[in-house]
């Protein structure tokens, strides 16, 4: 293992723990996401043929999605976001700065970056999250920002979504889980046994 990988070992451990939550979500989801129309399958399609010759196919989700899925999702998001903060702390351990201070910045624009990295208040410079790090490391972190790495579509950057979900989960609400068909059209979910009949 390289010196750098060794320094990031707790980061990789956090990510492995996030992946464990993903496995739990997949496992719980696998028991739930079974399309069908039998009693043993909570999701499916109901065929309403009360007005012949019309048959209306409606989506059924009679059992709510297990709350545990949302709880695992919240833990996954939090572990992944915390892993970024560990990246910053380990960089400070190596290059300089107080590793107990500052969170890994996730910014929306150059102005946002400047405001967060070089904060000013009452005409004076305030401590910033990257203080103590050399310019080369600050630039490496800058290049990972959503508005730089995903220029023109920063909202699609997975770490921008991660940051938003982590903030929401911490401060406001549990994320709702929901299911949706992978099919492009409703009729793609339905098998017609004999079209010529």
């Amino acid at each position: 293992m390289s010196h750098g990988n060794d320094a990031m070992s707790d980061v990789y451990a956090k990510l492995a723990w996030a992946e464990k939550h993903l496995e739990d979500i997949t496992s719980l989801g696998g028991e739930y996401l079974l399309p069908g129309d039998d009693d043993d399958r909570p999701l499916g399609i109901e065929f309403d043929n009360s007005r012949p010759p019309l048959v209306v196919a409606k989506f059924l989700a009679e059992k709510p999605l297990p709350t545990e899925i949302s709880l695992h999702a919240g833990d996954l998001v939090h572990n992944a976001r915390a892993a970024l903060d560990h990246v910053l702390a380990r960089l400070k351990d190596h290059f300089g700065g107080d590793s107990r201070r500052g969170t890994y910045p996730i910014t929306e624009s150059d102005a946002d970056w400047k405001g967060r990295i070089y904060p000013r208040r009452d005409c004076g410079r305030q401590p910033g999250p990257l203080d103590g790090l050399p310019c080369s490391v600050r630039m490496a972190i800058y290049r990972e920002q959503p508005h730089v790495a995903y220029a023109g579509r920063r909202q699609e950057d997975p770490i921008a979504i991660l940051s938003a979900m982590d903030n929401t989960d911490k401060h406001r609400l549990l994320h709702h889980g929901f299911v949706y068909p992978a099919a492009q059209r409703g009729v793609d979910l339905i098998h017609v046994r004999n079209r010529k009949r």
């Binding site: 750098g4 209306v56 196919a57 770490i159 068909p181 059209r185 339905i190 017609v192």
Partner: protein, 77 residues
């Protein structure tokens, strides 16, 4: 089968009772239509109107940042 009309398309909201399709048939409906048991359902969490990604992509993106940081340390050591 006289006709089939698709109603729901991917990306539209879906909930218990959402109409997916309508069919007009001759004779009895029983046994003619079935759910495709191989149809795949996916799971998501978060606000419906927010930008989307996968959990795998989130983790991979953070891992990429960690790898870059590790390389910086290696380069400096």
């Amino acid at each position: 089968m006289i006709s089939e009309e698709n109603v729901w398309v991917s990306g539209q909201p879906i909930a218990h009772g959402t109409v997916m399709a309508r069919f007009r048939i001759r004779g009895l409906a029983e046994g003619l239509l079935r759910v495709d048991r191989n149809a795949e359902l996916k799971l998501a969490t978060g606000p419906l109107d927010a930008p989307r990604t996968t959990y795998e992509d989130m983790i991979a993106r953070v891992r990429g940042i960690a790898d870059t940081a590790a390389a910086l340390i290696d380069h400096h050591s």
